[in-house]
Symmetry: C2
Subunit: 337 residues, 2 copies
């Protein structure tokens, strides 16, 4: 009799710049066995996030780096298939920070673990996207960090991306004026279709500051920053007095951590008394219930359309992640297992 | 009969880098006459502030630039000598944002105008320093923006400067662990004498990050940033989770606005979920009463010793300002008129 196995995606070598297929391997290892109080989860939806790029470098981040030969860390949505914990019976759907593995074992205290209640007729993968961590991140950054309210002018970078595309829709639903930036005419059109008042194709603009100023002559109240770098420098002098910058990520830095863009306009923080704040969604558990309820309601009303880039099969995870980090994708990159 | 005159310091040309005497002139002009509701003020204490450097460039800041030939803008402490406003009778002492002029006219709505109550035996100039705008700025940045509390580790740049020297003393009085940075052994000794737990002479440190890390192995809760630039980059990775950076000024940028240091470590905002916030003291009127009361109390108890660099005579204002901007001074630079 053969012992059960599981397939995993492991880190073979640390990427330089944008990852390549050779940085990853698909391996088969013995399926882990849950200990007392633990559960065995079968991955159903895997998530590709820019933050994963940070875990692949051998430098301190908010989590330790992935070890060479170890499976990649990531958020996933899974189903309990074996349980030693009465709170998490077989069949429970859950999200958790785990590893890129068909099967994985977690305890009830796993990072970010939470139950998923699938509403009838709603595709499961949405709960990893606009109805899940992506939507919660957009909500926390926009409303809890950015303090956006009706009438504010909201600027979003990477607006055709997973979080950005959700921010655009949430800000519109809240009565804000929304300007989305994205790279390329096709992405700009997607941003427009999501409801943005203005979509800026930054690749087509010789002077990004001028384009933003034209779109928001009275300035920006909230900048939802997904990219950092030169874009942040272009935005800083265009912020309104007491403006807020919610820093969700700095993708412009992740692929080139040893030579990031040097921001030269930080003195604008004093000029316009700006608040710039980095955040992680799960630092704000007290608002997540309210956030989830709003996401579910807007989806039911047709005001929130999840933008997704979906692949099939565990073995597609590295390629999907590489495409994400190459800036080619739109919406949330998910892999159905 | 000769019409009364007033002497003023005017801007002759816009400085390049650190200002030089030739950028300024001492002129005599007719003394202004107060209109209905206005008051004529005789300047008693003039204030040199790094922020003035920003007004001398022809670029937008939080105030319009000083016009060529016009008197320099600045905070001053003065005495009402002629009044068309019953709320501001002759003899009243006041602080206001005005001009470098022996006599000036203001209305009751002048920027930052407020009465000064001189306690018996307290030198008037302290009310432009640690018992005035300097102390209020230190208080607002440390407690309102930085949320410093007993047990926190507080780092201060330009700690032998006007604001920094006050922050060091306020933070100590609040039960914080205090690390002050200053340039040169003499300034570091002053910071130590003010009560800092550690004083770092950044000019003597080949690796500023290493020196800060040694002084605060568990990281920094609050960074009171007076300088920006490379120092900010050195500090960012050493901040503790949910740390706060109160950005009071970026003196490292003022003298070289066209070629400021590019900050490369902003992604630490996300890693450690930092809040970085620029502020202007007078945006926070609701806390200034509490702040002033604490400053007065600490001074009376001998726990707050104003650090000042005092000159005599209106004509000394440009040279005092030039020395301030050259980084040679310690404490608050004031000119008695």
């Amino acid at each position: 009799m053969t012992a059960p196995v599981t397939r995993q995606i492991t880190l073979v070598r640390r990427p330089t710049g944008i990852p390549v297929p050779e940085d990853f391997a698909l391996v088969e290892v013995p399926r882990p066995v849950p200990g007392p109080g633990e559960i065995l989860v079968r991955m159903r939806v895997g998530s590709c996030d820019p933050a994963i790029r940070g875990f692949l470098d051998d430098r301190p981040s908010y989590l330790p780096p992935v070890a060479l030969g170890a499976p990649i860390n990531g958020m996933s949505l899974g189903e309990v298939v074996e349980s030693n914990n009465a709170d998490w019976p077989v069949g429970t759907l859950l999200r958790t920070f785990a590893v890129w593995s068909e099967y994985y074992v977690v305890g009830a205290d796993a990072l970010g673990i939470e139950r998923v209640e699938q509403a009838p007729g709603v595709p499961l993968q949405h709960y990893m996207g606009a109805l899940g961590p992506v939507g919660l991140t957009a909500w926390v950054g926009l409303f809890e960090i950015g303090k956006a309210k009706a009438g504010d002018t909201v600027l979003v970078s990477a607006a055709a991306g997973a979080t950005g595309s959700t921010v655009v829709q949430l800000a519109k639903a809240a009565g804000c004026r929304v300007i989305g930036m994205a790279g390329g005419a096709a992405k700009a059109q997607i941003v427009r279709d999501l409801g943005a008042d203005v979509a800026i194709d930054y690749r087509a603009e010789p002077d990004l500051s001028a384009a933003i100023h034209k779109a928001a002559p009275d300035g920006i109240d909230v900048y939802f920053d997904n990219v950092g770098g030169e874009t942040l420098d272009a935005v800083l002098p265009l912020m309104r007095l007491h403006g807020r910058i919610a820093v969700c990520g700095m993708i412009a830095q992740y692929n080139d951590a040893d030579n990031p863009h040097g921001n030269r306009n930080l003195w604008q923080l004093v000029v316009n008394r700006l608040t710039m704040r980095g955040f992680i969604t799960y630092d704000h558990p007290e608002v997540l219930g309210e956030a989830q309820a709003m996401l579910d309601r807007l989806f039911a009303e047709g005001k929130l359309k999840p933008l997704e880039n979906v692949r099939d099969g565990l073995e597609k995870l590295p390629q999907a992640f590489i495409e994400l980090m190459s800036g080619k994708t739109t919406g949330k990159t998910l892999v159905l297992i």
